[in-house]
């Protein structure tokens, strides 16, 4: 008996050879460019989800600055310039909060829709490495979240840079009006030249009130480091961040959003349920993390530090943190949790926590993808 091998090709050529085609189909664990772009297409075409992400990330910036620009244009006497360091800080914090949530929702969707739509088994049957299928979701989703956040942040930066009042020439420290742009030595000199003014304002004197100028000068000399720190902080909070500071803040923001996406992807892949994963991450971001960042639980401080939001707060760029602090303690919701209520952790620990979350959740998601019945 003879069997006939299939000779029909729907468009390809049989001369390519079985082995070559097989090898191409197998691929390795690295996703191909086509795999990434088509996955990106699949996420992008989810109109409702993308609109939600845009509304959460971009809409607050557009709305707030749009109204402020409009009011200022209509009545410049009553309404000041649209931008200000405070608005910049608040919008950036809002972007970080909502960006994390939006990215987590997008990640959860990317991690579950193949399964829920019944495409997962089609994809597995192609013979493509499951790991490659999982890894393709990472750049595919980040290629959506990162530009959206970048767009919103760029608007924030432009308005702050071009529509903000000029930086103040003086800084108010402990009730004293001090000239701006002083270094530590200059500040010390300036304070030492005005001991009575310092004393009468109840200034930066620690301990019992000094009775004479010599004691005041001695106190200033002793506490100049902490005085200068407060001075710098106040100076930064009153000025728009410099370009390099804005770049740092932007990178920090993208990292926050990227973590949200990766954790959402991993958790979504693990649970296989988009809604569950999204709700869990919203709760983490707006309830658990702010609480743990603010309240020091006895004997559990290192456990608190394992929360990625707390590590990210510590990584928050100085310019943004100072702005947040100047605005008072962060709100429980929406105001960011920038005012850490617990002692800072070492840098290596902070980086370990962040890297651990990124790698850990990616590994968990990939493991579930590899072992899941299709």
């Amino acid at each position: 008996m003879t069997t006939t091998e299939p000779s029909l090709s729907a468009g390809g050529t049989e001369t390519s050879g079985y082995r070559r085609r097989a090898a191409q189909a197998i691929g390795g664990w690295l996703p191909t460019w086509d795999l990434i772009t088509t996955k990106n297409l699949e996420i992008r075409k989810r109109r409702g989800l993308i609109i939600t992400v845009v509304v959460l990330v971009v809409a607050p910036t557009v709305l707030i600055y749009g109204l402020r620009l409009l009011f200022h244009a209509v009545d410049p006497q009553s309404y000041g310039l649209a931008g200000s360091p405070g608005i910049f800080s608040q919008l950036t914090n809002l972007m970080a909060e909502f960006g994390f949530i939006a990215a987590a929702a997008l990640g959860a969707a990317a991690g579950t829709t193949d399964l829920s739509d019944g495409m997962f088994r089609h994809l597995v049957i192609t013979g493509r490495s499951r790991l490659a299928l999982y890894l393709a979701r990472i750049p595919a989703g980040l290629a959506i979240t990162i530009p959206i956040v970048a767009l919103a942040f760029l608007m924030n930066c432009l308005v702050t840079s071009y529509e903000s009042p000029p930086p103040p020439t003086s800084v108010s420290v402990y009730g004293l009006t001090v000239p701006g742009h002083l270094d530590q030595a200059e500040l010390q000199t300036w304070l030492l030249q005005r001991p009575q003014q310092v004393a009468s304002n109840g200034g930066p004197i620690i301990g019992p009130p000094p009775s004479n100028a010599a004691q005041i000068r001695s106190s200033i000399d002793k506490n100049i480091s902490s005085i200068y720190a407060d001075y710098s902080s106040d100076e930064i909070s009153g000025s728009s961040p410099a370009d390099n500071e804005m770049a740092k803040i932007g990178l920090w923001l993208e990292l926050e959003v990227g973590i949200g996406y990766l954790v959402g992807l991993g958790l979504g892949s693990l649970t296989g349920q988009r809604t569950t994963a999204t709700i869990m991450l919203i709760a983490l971001e707006i309830i658990v993390t702010p609480l743990l960042a603010r309240v020091q639980i006895p004997y559990f401080i290192d456990g608190q530090r394992l929360v990625v939001g707390i590590a990210m707060d510590q990584l928050r760029p100085a310019a943004l943190q100072a702005s947040a602090l100047a605005g008072g303690p962060g709100q429980l919701l929406f105001g960011g949790h920038g005012a850490l209520g617990i002692p800072a952790m070492p840098t290596w620990a902070m980086i370990s926590v962040i890297v651990g979350w990124v790698i850990g959740w990616s590994a968990i998601g990939a493991w579930r993808m590899l072992t899941r019945d299709a």
Partner: protein, 427 residues
């Protein structure tokens, strides 16, 4: 802050309290301690490891990379002159059937090109339920092969196991001569399959769904999107979202997705499900044409008539076990019998006469219903046509008027019901 002195407690407290004090010591507020991070990580890791071990133990799957329990290597394939021996209830029928139409013959002797699908003692369990029970399946290359069984017989589970969508618990299997799971990826490069209902991303167009699958396949699959769509008659609707597709269109899109890999083997699970008569006709024609091209088509179905119309050979599965397999006409002939309907004037007397005469061993006589007055006689499969003539002579000789004698072709359905346990359930 009220801080407990953990080392002090550890020093004075006995047993668990001492260990607990040592454990929480690094978690005290203030400084940062490596133990504070490591301890929770170790606990979480330990729990995760334990859960994984438990699940593995239940599934009896020893390693992530292994989709089936390690078995000794399969014995070398039998030469054409000695087909595999039946094992248990599995009956392997020797080849005698000629090719159907222009297609390749579907003998269950090992064909020259080997088997498109071959399993040995393949087993898949879900807890205590054995969904696939030591299945010995042979699908000849180039055939249209029906995998037939009632609902819940384990058809889809077998297909999912073959394709690596779920792990097997025992046995060996190969696709296109390549052992799986060892060579699964290579094998799947030349396999197209629809498992269960064909579902796609509803928010994407048919073409975009195929793009996604072509990207996963790699190679020149992308260039086959348009020909595949044309082949299944979906070119006009390729730009519409799948959400707007009918079931028949989704089935056709499923076939198109199979064709992206220019497959040598197509595995179609219940492709007629949900189709109207026209859709079934179109799907049948498509399957037939794919088989005619020399592709192996393995068709799982519970629709007996469709399998009989479409396939050359069939395996009957029931309760996870294959109970028969072979060319359809061969199986029907071998398993059934010659059934003769006698249209006569006195059916009751005729029945009595034939029973008393003992014309042939195993002969059964029954009166037909009123709507079809007469007598139905079931003769052994080996009965000759001369025996039918003998019956006629005896009836006429006894004064019974015989108006007609008709040999009734046993259908696959009759045979299926006779060999599966579902006959009792159905009745």
């Amino acid at each position: 802050m009220n801080i407990i002195d953990a080392p002090a407690i550890a020093h004075i407290a006995p047993g668990p309290a001492r260990w607990a004090a040592v454990a929480v010591g690094p978690l005290r507020g203030g400084g940062f301690h490596l133990g504070g991070i490591l301890l929770p990580l170790l606990v979480i890791g330990g729990v995760a490891y334990g859960v994984t071990r438990l699940r593995r133990g239940r599934r009896a799957a020893p390693h992530d990379d292994q989709w089936i329990r390690p078995e000794p290597p399969p014995p070398p394939p039998s030469p054409p002159s000695s087909p595999p021996e039946p094992s248990g209830e599995t009956a392997v029928v020797p080849a005698v059937a000629p090719a159907l139409g222009t297609r390749t013959a579907t003998s269950l002797e090992r064909p020259a090109g080997g088997w498109a699908v071959e399993t040995r003692a393949l087993t898949k369990r879900f807890g205590a339920n054995v969904a696939v029970d030591g299945v010995e399946l042979r699908v000849p290359r180039g055939s249209a092969f029906g995998y037939l069984g009632p609902n819940g017989a384990g058809k889809t589970t077998l297909i999912r196991t073959l394709l690596g969508l779920t792990r097997a618990d025992g046995g060996t299997m190969s696709l296109l001569g390549l052992p799986v799971p060892a060579e699964r990826k290579r094998a799947l490069a030349s396999v197209g399959a629809i498992v269960d209902e064909p579902r796609f991303h509803p928010h994407l167009t048919g073409r975009d769904n195929l793009r996604l699958l072509a990207a996963a396949r790699g190679g020149d699959a992308g260039s086959r999107i348009d020909p595949s769509l044309e082949r299944v008659g979906l070119t006009q609707r390729a730009g519409d979202k799948v959400a707007s597709y009918s079931m028949g269109m989704r089935q056709r899109l499923g076939v198109a997705s199979c064709l992206l890999g220019d497959p040598k083997l197509l595995i179609l699970d219940e492709p007629m499900n949900g189709l109207d008569p026209a859709g079934m006709h179109a799907m049948r024609a498509m399957i037939t044409s794919l088989a005619t091209e020399g592709r192996t088509v393995m068709l799982s179905s519970h629709l007996l008539d469709e399998v009989q119309r479409t396939c050359d050979a069939v395996a009957i599965v029931d309760h996870g076990r294959i109970i028969r397999q072979g060319p359809i006409d061969e199986l029907i002939r071998g398993a059934g019998a010659m059934v003769v309907h006698v249209d006569c004037s006195e059916p009751a007397r005729a029945a009595q006469l034939i029973e008393q005469a003992g014309i042939a061993q195993g002969t059964e006589v029954s009166e037909a219903g009123l709507a079809n007055a007469g007598l139905t006689i079931t003769l052994p499969a080996a009965a000759s046509r001369e025996l039918v003539a003998d019956i006629n002579r005896r009836l006429v000789g006894a004064g019974i008027s015989v108006y007609g004698l008709q040999e009734i072709q046993t259908s696959l359905e009759d045979w299926f019901l006779s060999v599966t346990s579902r006959l009792g359930e159905a009745s």
